[in-house]
Symmetry: D2
Subunit: 300 residues, 4 copies
């Protein structure tokens, strides 16, 4: 039996760069990836929530994955965000992502019919997909965007499927992360879905995280993981604590516009967002800059 | 100045019929529309939430609108559900719907980035759209699906735009419906977004409703409107009260699978749903049948 | 069989006046009641949520009811708010209220253990109480304060009890109000729990309302009821629409501090609130004054 | 300057035992405390949420504290739950608890007027109290009961007060716990408010926990703390993971009735609950017993 793909470590869900005309800036995407690969990131989630995936057309998505695959070294993972509302459409997009070279697919819960996305429906959706997908499936639970909150019970049931290898959980429900990690005993890999609870998630059995924070502070999130593994509780706690305000700024507070503005401030390419998202206004950018400064991200 | 398109009356958001292979059953759509047009419905919403729009590909959507337009008499409205997450994509789809003959577009709030869909973002999104759309725009607020709840303040601001003619509100917030109707004084048309509060909405100034209930009880919802207008409060109340359990069954309780099953029971075509939705199971269908019987929909 | 106590009409849940030392100002309470009784109010709820009941000790409560009973004419109802967390304590307080002359008790759902306040628990609580109470019980559902939302199913079940005569529902769920009124067919009296949806509630079968708004606009809320009953839909709608911003101001927006400030502005006695509530600050008072002015409550 | 009272370790919020007549069973309380004091618990919270405090009258509360103080050894803390809705009443009850020998007061957020319990109101409430209280104050945030969620910002502001020494947070928001612990740097003691996230809370800087789970598994929760402190991550994680289902059973799932039933099963005294709470039914008790068995709490 083949060894399971390892999701250990930190993964940034990268934003999709647009140029001034609103088209995808493939050259900027390459440059960003080049810079991130000078850091200890384990791989990249391409076209997750932060990638504005729902604002892209399918041909754009394929082009982004192709560019990313060419730019990402073979020892780092490309995890493609392929979840759509319809089950069949999700499978077809997952197959296309695989053909573009994705190592795994991260699949958000369907959510428009949220009242009906119960245990039975989610089990059927992901089982259909995992049975047929040429690449492993990572579940993606993000109630802040979807209004659907996949239960631990559903994750534990899906963990039985050999082609479902883990879950990114952004709900912040640390009890659920601990419960799933505990019951699945290492055969299912839990990932913190936000940089604010990376350390807590590691403590209860997660193997890493997929976190917007990793886009702007790749060295520091990796340091949390390494301090934790070395048993340096004090250092891990200190770094995690210091990053909480930064994490809040590039997620709930300022969202994708904030994440992109932060990249611009840090000398990478953020650029504009797509409508209906709105770019940050000047006072917001200044506040963000101050938060990055206090968090120690601007020195040097 | 041209008279505004009237949204007075009852509109069913019709389900999209699929055949056993999961493809769109255009012949069944035509037959359903033919039957509905023997009733006093004012028009049809094609590809709203009940139409499983998020589970269709764009070419399928255009084909559905074309079939519907050909089948719908000229004195009844075809309102197309055209909302996408991206603003530009929404505009392009609205333009295509217009070319298919839609009289108006009903545009759901973007919602994946719900934390950012504030007053300013929604104003910008809808204004961009309304400025360019060849057909009038009807706002569509449905927090149960989107997790976004457009405020009365936003509706009132958008009501200033000459190409935004009304709103379907499914939130059940009767105070908001009354507030918007009161402030906009007839230049903006409020529509009850669920058959459970049609009478209440009329009482506070709505002009009609877009309601799944209208698919299965077109005569009775129309009777609520006519009783209300004639001042027959007792009759309006009695009919409304009797329909509440039926409405709950084909909306929150059993959802689209329930609406389709109800159509099958009533001798129209419901048929299967698309995955990840799941069809009703036998005990659910039996319960639904009993609810329809008690509601007086099976006699004759 | 005795006729049921009628809850028809408008009832203000009156605030409890405190003097500058934080003690109950019985003289002010008498003066307020005297003024309100020059208007067509059907009675008074004394020590509901607006009465800061949870901030009073039991001897204070009894003293307030005694003062109120002496001041309230016999043809107007005194409805006492007697709900406590514990079932037995609620019964004992209800018995004391009856001895003070209350005509009925309005009993809020217990709520601290909200996860356990299900159908079965609420049924047991209210049945125990109604079996023993010397005065009729009015259910009181106010999720904005309690976090508990009594279902229509529970109300319908409790409506079977001869000593449970109605319910004040502040949830704003107009479908539930219609459903309960429809199923209970007049043997159970529904009351709108907020002035924002009085007209809508009447339309679906409510007999009146218990509304903070009735403290500041007693003539106007009574006018909504009379216009509705005369079939003057336009007038009812106009008055209801005009009062929505005023209602919001003295409820959700500014709360009890706002209601008391409004009374002060209108020449009655509002006075201070008890801590942890905070009185309005100057800019808030000015905004409130403007809302009252626009609502037409300051002329003359 | 005096050293701050240490909240390090595990504290059970103990249930209040009632006899068959619904009166407080002081003898049982003594016996329970005796047994618990053969374990490494750091102290006891007497009359917190689990103590059914809201269902007790004031004289009962004082009697419970007196019995508890006499039974609790001097090297273990008695933390009294003293929060009421009114600020002044809370202070008076806190003073009485101090006279009964409480070492500290744990004060739940006022919550009936939840819409008004903002940063400013909570700051004023707790500052008034802390300024005057003869014993240190521990904040208590439990949104599942109160519907109020005290922010990290409010906690950080209150941490400035020398008489506010920590907070029990039951929200499960591990980011907030980490943030407050990080910013307050040890001068403010965070306590996990539920046994499901004790390990995660320790990892981000909490000093211990106040957890219903500590009533039924005192040795095991203490073991999580000691394993964590020794750096035995694997053991800490294993124990935490194993306790998650037990914790869920005696909190959200079965509530206080479940906690009391668990004590009965474990050979301590649980006994009946007070109405409106309902005791577990037979199938629930059997399920609970099975959960305790699987969790390893019944062997021996």
């Amino acid at each position: 039996m083949e060894a399971q793909l390892s999701l250990k470590g930190c993964f940034p869900p990268i934003p999709t760069p647009f140029n001034g005309q609103g088209r995808i800036a493939h050259d900027r995407l390459e440059l960003n990836l080049e810079k991130w690969q000078t850091t200890p990131l384990a791989g990249f989630v391409v076209l997750g929530s932060n990638g504005e995936a729902v604002l892209l057309r399918e041909p754009e998505k394929l082009a982004v994955w192709e560019t990313a695959r060419a730019a990402i070294q073979k020892d780092r993972l490309l995890i493609a965000g392929t979840g759509c509302e319809a089950t069949v459409e999700t499978l077809e997009l997952t197959e296309k992502a695989a053909r573009c070279g994705a190592d795994a697919a991260m699949v958000v819960t369907p959510h428009y019919y949220k009242g009906k996305m119960n245990h039975r429906a989610l089990l059927a959706h992901y089982t259909f997909l995992a049975d047929r997908s040429p690449i492993p499936i990572v579940l993606y639970n993000v109630p802040a965007n979807t209004g659907v909150d996949m239960t631990g019970e559903t994750m534990i049931a899906l963990a039985e499927h050999p082609n479902v290898i883990g879950a990114k959980d952004s709900s912040g429900n640390i009890v659920k992360i601990g419960q799933v990690a505990s019951v699945t005993q290492g055969r299912f890999q839990m990932l913190a879905g936000s940089g604010g609870f990376l350390l807590a998630a590691l403590a209860v059995g997660a193997v890493g995280g997929v976190m917007g924070l990793a886009c702007v502070a790749p060295h520091l999130v990796a340091e949390i993981v390494s301090s934790f593994e070395k048993g340096d509780r004090e250092k891990a706690r200190e770094t995690q604590g210091r990053l909480i305000p930064v994490n809040a700024a590039v997620t709930t507070r300022f969202g994708i516009p904030g994440l992109k503005a932060a990249l611009d401030i840090l000398g990478m390419y953020g650029g504009p967002v797509r409508s209906p998202l709105l770019s940050l206004r000047k006072p917001e950018k200044e506040e963000l800059q101050e938060i990055l400064r206090v968090g120690g991200l601007l020195n040097g």
